[in-house]
């Protein structure tokens, strides 16, 4: 995402605010991967993720005047996507659980790491609470540090750290012998 954000310039943001179609297209192209991936990994199905991503971009379109910078834009998109996904998961508690297995593209296909382990991680991610899942995704998909995650999800920093610690512990426990605990979550 960060690479894509750099490609979208402040000038394009100003044009997008004035309804320039090319700038709006560039905005969507720069951010759709991040929004869609976050929605897909939160909700578990492609249809729900596409609906959510579309809603988020439509909402952004109506609020573009209030977006001050590219960083603010990325922050706004992550925040709205995460909050709306968490709301949906809370309202429809079992949707993600029943449909995660059906979707084979939750993780990056081009990756060279162990596919069995990735499938296992996918199932473990599904076991996390909506808030914890959002924290893990913002940390490892969006590469945000805990302070930024706390701001995005409007959580105390200690809650974010606690979610990360417990989620990683849970994943390690559920993956016996597969992963060392090297570094002891130094990045948290």
């Amino acid at each position: 995402m960060n690479e894509a954000v750099r490609q979208f310039t402040d000038h394009e943001l100003a044009l997008a605010r004035n309804g320039d179609a090319q700038a709006l297209t560039a905005l969507v192209l720069a951010h759709q991967r991040s929004v869609y991936s976050l929605a897909l990994r939160m909700l578990g199905t492609r249809d729900l993720a596409e609906d959510l991503a579309q809603d988020v971009f439509m909402q952004l379109n109506r609020n573009l005047k209030s977006i001050e910078s590219r960083e603010h834009l990325a922050f706004w998109l992550r925040k709205v996507t995460a909050f709306r996904a968490i709301d949906q998961l809370r309202q429809r508690a079992r949707v993600a659980t029943t449909s995660f297995d059906e979707d084979t593209h939750l993780f990056n296909d081009a990756d060279t790491s162990d596919p069995l382990l990735q499938r296992h991680l996918k199932l473990l991610l599904e076991e996390l609470s909506p808030a914890a899942r959002a924290v893990v995704l913002l940390r490892y998909q969006e590469d945000l540090d805990p302070v930024d995650i706390a701001q995005t999800l409007e959580m105390p920093i200690n809650t974010v750290k606690s979610h990360l610690k417990r989620s990683l512990e849970f994943m390690r426990q559920e993956t016996p012998g597969a992963l060392s605990s090297r570094g002891e979550d130094e990045s948290i």
């Binding site: 179609a21 297209t25 993780f107 990056n108 990735q118 490892y140 992963l179």
Partner: protein, 122 residues
């Protein structure tokens, strides 16, 4: 499998591209959203017209409501005026009746006194 969990998660959780179909649909949705259309100073048709057309039913409903309200108010006013006129007529009728009764009383009184004067023994 020897990599640590965080590296595996980072590798696994790289953003995924949505389908090209969805991407096209999304771009079309965002760029065609009428909410974002800018009003043009000299525009005759298009979004400006659609925007005005959206307000037409609201304006019509407001006109009907105002009309009904005015009619109601006029009717109340007319009824009040009719009531006042009827009251005025009743008061006038009472006044005339009263005058006639006074006159009749005076006549009866004067006749009765002249009769007594002419027939003192009665």
């Amino acid at each position: 499998m020897s990599q640590d969990l965080e590296s595996q998660l980072r590798a696994a959780l790289r953003p995924i591209a949505a389908s090209a179909t969805f991407e096209k649909r999304l771009i079309a949705c965002v760029t065609d959203d009428p909410q974002h259309s800018q009003p043009k100073a000299n525009s005759v048709g298009g979004a400006g017209w659609r925007s005005r057309a959206r307000w037409l039913p609201v304006a019509a409903a407001a006109c009907v409501l105002i009309g009904v309200g005015l009619q109601n108010r006029l009717q109340v006013r007319r009824e009040r005026e009719n009531g006042l006129e009827a009251r005025r007529q009743v008061v006038e009728a009472l006044r005339v009746t009263s005058q006639k009764l006074d006159l009749a009383y005076e006549i009866v009184k004067s006749q009765s006194s002249s009769f007594t004067d002419e027939n003192p023994g009665v």
